[in-house]
Symmetry: C2
């Protein structure tokens, strides 16, 4: 480090997507290293609608590692943050910024402190895998800052130690997390099956469902499942390996019918083993059930699946439709069956890619109110119609992987002080 | 038959209990004979609170077989009724009533027609195994009328062909339905594990839950599960056999902790395989989930189970408590968390054995309104409190098996006309 180095702040800002598993990860064989009991496959969601942006910075003037999430300082003491920071520092390399006259030697990273600011462009509490995008973004941006030579797959094995499903956010498109065999976890990492352009007709609609009950964290939930479910080992050893192969083929061949069947049955089986846990874990609620009924009725009426659904550790539905036309028809059905509470603005009830709303011929709340029941329900609603069961919908699509944002105006930390803007 | 026999009507009236499985029956290996894929164990419920009463009658003046259920004529053409009638007629014997001057020869039963009237002392639509009690009562009363020599276990194999779980209603107390091995189903029958006096401290509270959605019939539901669930065979072959042995031991030893753990986990696993069915089947709803949370919280706080819960193919909760004292404490908790809609009469909100209500110190709705939250919830309610989620509660206990009612005033058919009273 230079003599008058005390003043400089070096920063990297990156953006990382969230992802939704279509073959689920549930259950660890190693709690500390976060090694799963089965492979999983996910779709990366378009970061324009759902992503984490993280700025990481280093300066000799920083006296401790600090982190801010959505503008609020949070503790970095947790074992998972510490695992990621330790693994990345161990792989750090020399960094030189000639323009700024900064030179950091490999060894310096052990002593230098970091400031980290992270921001989700979607509600953190909504149960939309914010920790996956967050940890992936932390690892990715730190790897850039510290000039790591590892590729994204190797970085995914580090992100995995922060939050299991985070490893799948290191790639866009369709991603497989290989469970691996090694005890040290070195081969438990993510690989890309296909990028987001491979199957770009797909459209995704997320229903953010109002929860009546507090949820079990996925960490403790999956631990309880592994300890108490009489079905989880059969799922992990006998059922999932076959589904992984079938899902890889479905993605390769853009075979929507197989993709939908696998995604739906695997989501349902994940919730089945949660229910087989003692005490039982319920992530889906009556609204989730009604969304499934609505989709299943339509799929059955069309004779071939139009929509796949999948639910993570919460009541929100992620629906993947075969194309834009289907997405518009789905949105009509969803708005008919799940109208908002009175005086809700359409603009805040359907967010993300609004062009789907336009395709559905819906310009304002009047259009929602005058929707007629879809033919497959003979005009009946699915279950009892209750306004406000869904908080809002997000229209999106499969998207790309992590990127560095070179535009400095997007940084979340002040380039002079290294404190949140 | 005597020459002026045209006038006589011979009748038998019997009462048969309903039952609730604590190790569940779900899945058939033979649809026609109703042969299950695993053994099951049930508790017979006190017929004073939940039972079917059936009068069967025969007369040479009857021109066809007819049946009335709760006063309304229903068709006997269904394959299941026909199976039972055929099997019973095939085993009929000579009957002589000297007082009335009636003599029926064995062969006559093939030509004589029957009138049958059946009545449930609980709502048929409430999902409380009315078909189990109904078919068991039909078979039991016809067996008495036609002077069958078969014991109740052999009769259970006939009732089984009407409705699988009906076979377990041929005995009181604790009953096991042995799945059997024979292709013709002759060894698929019920045996009594212990009578109702064996463990007479148990008290049962049933929450009849208001359903928002129409339910899948158990017949088609279990067919779909066998055809589509990747977990059901593992459950039937690997999990249930062990649980059957453990449950028999728990009942033998009146080991409530084991009994509760087995009943709860098996109920949850039955609902798990329903969820693993494609399309998924949901029988429990948010209210069912909240009842489970309420019980689990309390059990955990007490460190040893106070209450076992079990749910059949619907949202109703059947809760079995270790004794009267616990039942009173449970009823307080249930009434606190699940208050009735305004202007509900306490007398219609808690039915059955009202002495439990008295033990709980609740005399009127004012007492319900002033209940305080149980200590394990720190005064909070479990989930969101919504009046009317439960329709009513039934307090009952394990009870006895089928009995003939010799008091003719209890007959449901007119002794002269053979038509409903």
């Amino acid at each position: 480090m230079g003599a008058q180095a005390e003043k400089w702040v070096l920063m990297v800002t990156a953006r990382t997507p969230t992802n939704i598993a279509v073959i689920k990860y549930w259950g660890k064989r190693d709690e500390k290293l976060i090694l799963p009991i089965n492979d999983s496959i996910s779709v990366t969601l378009d970061p324009n609608h759902l992503c984490t942006t993280t700025t990481v910075s280093v300066s000799p003037s920083f006296v401790e590692d600090r982190m801010w999430l959505n503008g609020k300082e949070i503790s970095l003491q947790g074992g998972r943050f510490q695992s990621c920071l330790r693994e990345i520092r161990a792989r750090a390399n020399d960094v030189e910024d000639e323009k700024k006259g900064i030179k950091i030697n490999k060894e310096d990273w052990q002593k230098l402190h970091l400031h980290i600011a992270s921001y989700n462009n979607f509600p953190t509490a909504a149960g939309l895998a914010s920790s996956a995008a967050g940890l992936a973004c932390l690892v990715f941006s730190l790897a850039k800052l510290m000039n790591l030579k590892e590729d994204n797959s190797q970085l995914s094995a580090i992100a995995r130690q922060g939050s299991g499903s985070a490893c799948r956010s290191l790639y866009g498109g369709f991603v497989k997390w290989i469970m691996g065999k090694e005890e040290n976890g070195s081969d438990s990492l993510a690989v890309q099956l296909a990028d987001e352009k491979h199957w770009d007709e797909l459209v995704i609609i997320i229903a953010v469902v109002s929860a009546r009950q507090k949820e079990t964290s996925s960490t403790s939930g999956m631990r309880d499942t592994v300890e108490t479910s009489a079905l989880i080992q059969h799922r992990a050893k006998e059922v999932v390996p076959k589904r992984i192969i079938e899902m890889e083929n479905a993605i390769q061949n853009r075979d929507f019918a197989s993709f939908a069947r696998l995604a739906c049955t695997d989501s349902n089986q994940f919730h089945a083993v949660c229910l087989d846990t003692y005490p039982p874990i319920f992530y889906m609620n009556d609204t989730s059930h009604r969304i499934i009924s609505c989709v299943e009725k339509w799929n059955r009426a069309e004779e071939t699946p139009q929509v796949a659904y999948t639910f993570d550790a919460g009541p929100n539905a992620v629906m993947i439709t075969r194309d834009r036309k289907t997405a518009a028809l789905l949105l009509q059905r969803l708005l008919y069956n799940f109208p908002p509470q009175p005086d809700t603005d359409l603009d805040s009830y359907v967010i993300g890619d609004k062009s789907i709303l336009k395709d559905a011929g819906i310009k304002d709340m009047k259009d929602v109110e005058t929707l007629v029941g879809p033919p497959e329900t003979k005009g009946n609603i699915v279950g009892e119609k209750s306004k406000g069961d869904v908080s809002y919908f997000i229209c999106t699509r499969p998207g790309g992987g992590p990127v560095v944002l070179s535009d400095e105006t997007q940084a979340l930390l002040d380039p002079l002080t290294g404190l949140p803007n």
